[in-house]
């Protein structure tokens, strides 16, 4: 990380880090671990300022051999290479006179180091700076996808990436000690935690022991499990906590979807042993929580009639509504069911569940694929004429009944509806005739127009009537598209 550009904190830290070095040696620069650096970009005032263009700064291998076109970064290297070609070569000698120090400025105008007073003293340094700050990051760390512009930076990072030495309590990772220390000082989590700990009294193992009232109760239950399980008793005598045997039993009786860890399906001891070492205690304790809640509103005991425990166990909120429900008039045809909740009883009085009703309707209502569309609905309405004769018979006539699978039910109902969509003109005819018969006194054309107008408004919640698509059009062209695509919902 390039921290050496004007950041005051790290360098003071660096200084801080070296303080404890008690070296008696009077020469400071040779024995210290690191040379103490000055603030970067404070050059010697006498130095010669060199301004290189970005191109020359980024150029590598500027010195080319004319024979083989090999490139070199330094002229000296090129000269040595030319010796190999038997070309005249000349190595520059280091000049004897004082070499004037050279400093370099960054060509990027917005950069701090563009100013000669903040020039950098090292050519390699300025090159790296330019890449890092103003260049494209071409090198990417494999482990953490962090990107770098300078290859050496990337290499250095890759070595330490993932070695993660320091971790703050809030979960953030650091590879450097100094940044870790800085972070810790300002970390939120710590601040709030310390605030919290000052307010609550110190807690300790005793609280921890109190917690497993759930899990300890559970353990007791578990120990009694094998014995009571053998009785094969599914009734939960203890109304509050469902016992282990129940689910162990169920687990054994369940279908192939659950594969018990023990090899045999009667491996009860294995299952109960499995329970203990795993984290199931903790997780099953949450089960207690939920089941406890469940038992408030649902009876957990199958031996008692369901209505009664419900009333007894309800808490205050429910009690209020309980008194209200007794006042609440029930206008069932003969069903004053206040306490009765059992499905058997209701079924005994010939109440089909809504799901069953839908399935039945679908079975009855499915039309054959080549049924005439308009008679799909027309048939229904004409059948109603004779409804007064015999209820059941006419219902059967009214809904045709092929033998369909349950799974096809919604498809059937769907087809019923969709079939009528595929011929909008027929629908128009049907609508027209039922309009007339209903004596809404609209001529057929007028009613169609009205339909169209209403249709547009209808879908839109007030959208302008310039909308081209109507529900019918929509269905029509979806059918069109599906026709070419073999949509199973559509039958030709």
């Amino acid at each position: 990380m390039s921290q050496d550009h004007g950041l005051s904190v790290p360098s003071t830290l660096k200084g801080f880090v070296q303080e404890p070095n008690s070296n008696p040696n009077p020469n400071p620069s040779s024995n210290q671990l690191k040379r103490k650096r000055n603030l970067p970009g404070t050059p010697d005032p006498d130095a010669e300022v060199i301004a290189l263009s970005p191109k020359s700064l980024m150029a590598t291998n500027r010195f080319l051999c004319e024979i083989c076109n090999k490139g070199f970064q330094r002229d000296q290297n090129l000269q040595l290479h030319r010796r190999g070609h038997n070309l005249p070569w000349k190595l520059k000698q280091r000049t004897n006179k004082e070499v004037r120090k050279k400093v370099y400025i960054c060509p990027e105008k917005s950069c701090v180091h563009h100013d000669p007073s903040r020039a950098l003293g090292d050519l390699t340094g300025i090159k790296k700076h330019f890449s890092r700050k103003h260049g494209e990051k071409k090198w990417k760390c494999e482990k953490c996808s962090k990107k770098y512009a300078v290859q050496s930076d990337w290499k250095a990072h890759s070595k330490i990436c993932g070695t993660r030495e320091y971790r703050c309590d809030c979960g953030t990772l650091f590879s450097r000690k100094d940044s870790f220390i800085t972070h810790r000082a300002f970390c939120d989590a710590l601040a709030e935690e310390s605030a919290r700990f000052t307010t609550i009294s110190s807690t300790n193992p005793q609280a921890a022991a109190a917690i497993p009232q759930f899990s300890s109760v559970f353990r007791q239950q578990q120990q009694s499990a094998p014995g009571s399980e053998l009785a094969g008793n599914n009734v939960i005598a203890d109304g509050q906590k469902p016992r282990l045997p129940l689910w162990l039993d169920q687990a054994n009786n369940s279908n192939a979807m659950l594969t018990p860890i023990g090899s045999s399906s009667t491996g009860l001891p294995e299952l109960s042993q499995m329970v203990a070492p795993m984290n199931m205690f903790g997780s099953l304790s949450q089960m207690q929580w939920f089941s406890g809640g469940a038992n408030l509103s649902m009876s957990s005991s199958s031996s008692l009639p369901r209505g009664i425990p419900k009333e007894e166990e309800e808490n205050k909120a429910y009690n209020l509504s309980e008194s209200m429900t007794s006042l609440y008039p029930s206008n069932q045809s003969g069903q004053q069911q206040q306490q009765q909740q059992q499905q058997q009883q209701q079924q005994g009085l010939a109440h089909m569940s809504a799901t069953a009703l839908l399935q039945k309707a679908a079975q009855m209502g499915s039309t054959r694929s080549n049924a005439n569309n308009s008679t799909g609905f027309g048939l229904m309405s004409t059948s109603f004429n004779s409804f007064n004769q015999t209820d059941k018979n006419e219902l059967h006539k009214f809904f045709k009944q092929p033998n369909q699978q349950v799974a096809d039910n919604d498809q059937n109902l769907n087809e019923l509806i969709m079939n009528s969509f595929s011929c909008p003109t027929n629908m128009g005819a049907v609508a027209g005739s039922s309009n007339a018969s209903l004596l809404m006194a609209n001529a057929k054309n007028a009613s169609n127009e009205a339909e169209r107008r209403l249709t547009r408004d209808f879908l839109g919640v007030g959208v302008e009537s310039s909308r081209p698509l109507s529900q019918q059009e929509l269905a029509k062209f979806m059918n069109l598209s599906s026709q070419y695509g073999g949509n199973p919902h559509h039958r030709s």
Binding site: D169, C170, G171, T172, L173, A189, R196, A207, A208, P242, L246, W247, Q250, M257, L258, T259, N279, M280, G282, S283, Q286, M287, W289, F290, S291, G293, A294, M298, S300, M324, T325, Y328, Q332, Q338, Q340, Q343, Q346, H351, L357, M364, G378, F384, N385, F387, N388, D391, D410, L416, S437, L438, L439, E451, R452, D457, S470, Q471, A475, M478, Y484, H489
Partner: protein, 447 residues
């Protein structure tokens, strides 16, 4: 329109109404026969009426729709048997849909609604208590979180809808009994109502203090679609879990017609060479609007690098393009839900009524009567969610055997044998008899 003695000047013989008039001389009132219908036949008749009414509504035959509604209202009732109740809420939804053709009327009639936060909280609590669905979802979510966070010292959990403290109380208790000791737990709760979050914060901090777990609750008062991810303060490298219970589908709300017109145009351009079932149109690449919000949300979630993300959703296709599709699907799903209630709660129970009206009734209304951005209840089937998560570079994390065992045990404690758990594609489906109603799946970032 209808005189009380049932006589009308209907002359054609091809309508149900004709038959009312023929009945009237023999019976006192036109609908006497209706009351004498046994519940099964009444139920079947209601289904037929609902379907035909919906058909009229879809075609814009408002007059016929009106008549059908009238007939249904004679039979349907919010305190009758299951089918009567369902019919009552579906017809209310259809009526709302019709009303939207007159926006002024619609707004006027719906403007004086009082929405009480405490009532909403009560209804949510009732849903939690009366059904096992949320509990099973919580059990599975917590188990997935516990397993993913094994060995972690610091755990950060984000709850996309922090309304039910019970979920996290259970997690806190479970974590406190971890063999390696509890982690430092941080929960960030998102919810549009501040009061809900405050209550949650209070209860959870109380629980954590009791159990001596280092705990922190952060409230983010925001709607999910406007969520600013920076507010979540997720630190890089921390162990993050995300829990989404019945929340993601609302992000699918979009202006369907814009995308549909785009689809139509492209179909015309391609000469009908494109084959797709109506179901998947909403998420096809040709309809960019439909999932833009969802895609960007999922990308942001992915960007947080969670260790595990557990998603619970309704498992029904209520996002079809046409009214009829949605109505049919909704009939099946809500029939199952109403059946659950019927088999376990008394018909005169006020709580049941509240759940049916304020929870299911509102959902039904949204599915049937609303379109475009307003329609938030865009439930979809699990396989579509799987596709969606897959595309967003999430990998499936199978739900563990241990979690499923607990879930089944929970269902048994309900002592109502209609509930089932099924496994599908390494995800869990919570069913009523054969009908899957909710799905729970777990995901992690796939790099």
């Amino acid at each position: 329109m209808f005189q009380d003695d049932g006589s009308s000047s209907v002359t054609s013989s091809s309508s149900p109404l004709q038959f009312f008039s023929t009945m009237s001389p023999s019976l006192g009132s036109p609908y006497q026969w209706l009351r004498e219908l046994k519940s099964e036949e009444r139920g079947l008749y209601l289904i037929h009426l609902l379907l035909s009414c919906a058909n009229h509504v879809a075609n814009g035959n408002l007059e016929n729709a009106n008549l059908a509604l009238d007939q249904i209202s004679q039979l349907a009732s919010p305190d009758g048997d299951t089918m009567q109740r369902i019919a009552a809420y579906f017809t209310e939804a259809l009526a709302q849909r019709i009303l939207k053709s007159w926006p002024g009327l619609h707004k006027a009639l719906n403007s004086t609604r009082i929405s009480s936060v405490s009532e909403e909280m009560l209804v949510r609590k009732l849903f939690f208590d009366m059904f096992p669905f949320l509990k099973v979802a919580f059990v599975l979510t917590n188990q997935a979180i516990i397993e993913a966070m094994e060995g972690e010292k610091v755990v950060h959990v984000i709850d996309l809808n922090a309304a039910e403290p019970a979920q996290w109380i259970a997690l806190i208790q479970a974590l406190s009994t971890r063999p390696e000791g509890p982690p430092h737990l941080r929960i960030t709760g998102i919810h549009p109502q501040k009061e809900v979050l405050d209550q949650m914060a209070h209860r959870l901090t109380e629980e954590a203090e009791k159990l001596d777990i280092p705990f922190q609750f952060n409230s983010v008062v925001s709607k999910l679609e406007n969520l600013d991810f920076d507010k979540l303060r997720v630190k890089t490298g921390e162990a993050l879990a995300i829990s989404s219970v019945l929340q993601l589908h609302s992000l699918l709300a979009a202006d369907d017609y814009a995308s549909l017109i785009a689809l139509k145009n492209s179909l015309l351009a391609n000469g009908y060479g494109y084959s797709q079932s109506p179901d998947s149109v909403s998420s096809s690449p040709l309809s960019p609007n439909a999932s833009a919000k969802m895609d960007s949300f999922l990308n942001s979630l992915w960007g947080l690098s969670p260790k595990v993300m557990v998603v619970t959703e309704q498992d029904s296709n209520h996002n079809g393009l046409t009214l009829m599709e949605r109505l049919l699907e909704a009939l099946y799903s809500y029939a199952a839900l109403f059946d659950c209630l019927e088999s376990s709660v008394s018909r005169t129970s006020m709580e049941r009524l509240k759940v049916e009206k304020m929870l299911f009734g509102e959902e039904i209304k949204n599915i049937i009567a609303c379109e475009g951005f307003e329609r938030k209840e865009r439930h979809e089937k699990l396989e579509k969610w799987i596709q969606r998560f897959d595309l967003a570079c999430f990998g499936n994390v199978p739900l563990s055997y241990c979690g499923m065992l607990q879930a089944r045990r929970l269902l048994q404690s309900y002592n109502c044998d209609g509930y089932r758990i099924a496994e599908d594609n390494r995800c869990v489906l919570i069913c009523w008899h054969d009908r899957p109603l909710f799905s729970v799946s777990a995901w992690s970032c796939r790099k």
